[in-house]
Symmetry: C2
Subunit: 243 residues, 2 copies
């Protein structure tokens, strides 16, 4: 009667922790969005696999809960970290009336960390992670957060920067950041981290606008006022004094 | 002539990725702060190990660079993620005049993610990571960031919340956050994540003040205005609409 909510990391099994792997191996049932279950296919042999399409997050949690209530051990897989825009929270919410079901959150490497590593070191100092998806959050609040993070001179990571229905959200976010930061601020983006088609790009803040590379599988990074480019890498110094 | 800057995760090898392990195993030399080198001791057998005490970060980078320039492969280990208050940035800075030395940043699980997993799911939605250490950053800027993150209603993670010389910094940060957030805001902290003496505590925002548990090995988590406690876990909902 246990559910592991497992962050499998960016995609490549090389970046998934032994603890996450063991949690899947110990489980009777593996639940998750089809694409993520596919990424851990080699660990699911001989197990019951219950995958569901995107946007059915609550249904997926109920499937995991039902399996746990049948006294099975369940691995509920999600990409990146289970606790950063992941399924850990909603799983605990859905299981609210069943405190007898143990829920263990297994951390994984989130796109902010795996993407930053590919770009150099943009997140060495204070930073904010903000999702531009307005499916569950009012757009005004998202923009307020972007502006305040820019005013705070923190590095900024944008998840879900664009989708078919909101192609100009990243442009609006960049415009808001430009009120506080130079157009030349070292920035970059990473697509399909750890998967086939991975792409990494370092650019200026303004280059993030009207940029057809950026899509829903992209994570965007924006430096702070001290961030520089060194040998083709983005580097945010540790502090505001000389190192 | 390659340096891997390796994030070894929270401490337990179970939470270190196979890629990070392989990077250490492929290396001729392992460089790092004594405590972190000790954590990966079983991987360093037969290798040259160069450890240095705390606060000698630039020296440590120079040692790693010198070894790489002797055509050795170097693993430069740091705790958590190499790119979040880690050594990735300063290593690239120190090697600035040696573009021939390849530097690969290997991500690991940072305390925000490993700590959040132990507390439940406090970071499911937008959040800021801020260090309260003023060794390299002016205190005014740190406080500005704390206030703006609070005003933005983002969850907040505080690294380096206290040291012997700055025992009241966390208290001042909490006071600043209280201008925007309820005293009852679900909060918590985790000490010595993944190591001996690990401790996890869930409390209210005001309980973080005058709190002798909190020290330099503690990571502090503060929820946003929608964060709740469910079955003894901190949960920040995915959005501001009903799930």
């Amino acid at each position: 009667m246990k559910i592991y909510v497992v962050g499998i990391g960016p995609g490549s099994l090389d970046h998934m922790t032994p603890y996450a792997k063991a949690a899947i191996e110990k489980s009777d049932v593996v639940v998750g969005y089809t694409v993520y279950v596919e990424l851990v296919r080699e660990m699911t042999r001989g197990k019951e696999v219950l995958s569901t399409p995107m946007k059915k997050e609550v249904d997926r949690c109920k499937i995991a809960l039902d399996a746990a209530l049948e006294n099975k051990t369940v691995a509920f897989v999600c990409s990146g970290d289970a606790g950063v825009y992941g399924m850990a929270g909603i799983m605990i919410q859905v299981a609210k009336d069943h405190p007898e079901v143990e829920i263990e959150v297994v951390p994984g490497i989130t796109a902010a960390c795996s993407g930053a590593a590919l770009l150099g070191a943009p997140l060495i100092h204070d930073f904010s992670i903000i999702s531009l998806s307005d499916l569950l959050t009012p757009w005004d609040l998202i923009m307020k957060r972007v502006k305040l993070a820019a005013e705070a001179d923190m590095s900024i990571v944008l998840y879900n920067p664009k989708s078919k229905k909101r192609r100009d959200y990243i442009d609006k976010a960049v415009d808001a950041i430009l009120e506080f930061r130079s157009p030349d601020t070292p920035s970059g983006y990473v697509k399909m981290i750890g998967r086939e088609g991975e792409m990494t790009k370092i650019c200026k803040l303004t280059d993030l606008k009207d940029n057809d590379d950026i899509d829903m599988f992209t994570t965007v990074f924006i430096g702070n006022s001290t961030t520089e480019i060194i040998n083709g890498r983005i580097v945010t110094p540790r502090g505001y004094k000389n190192v």
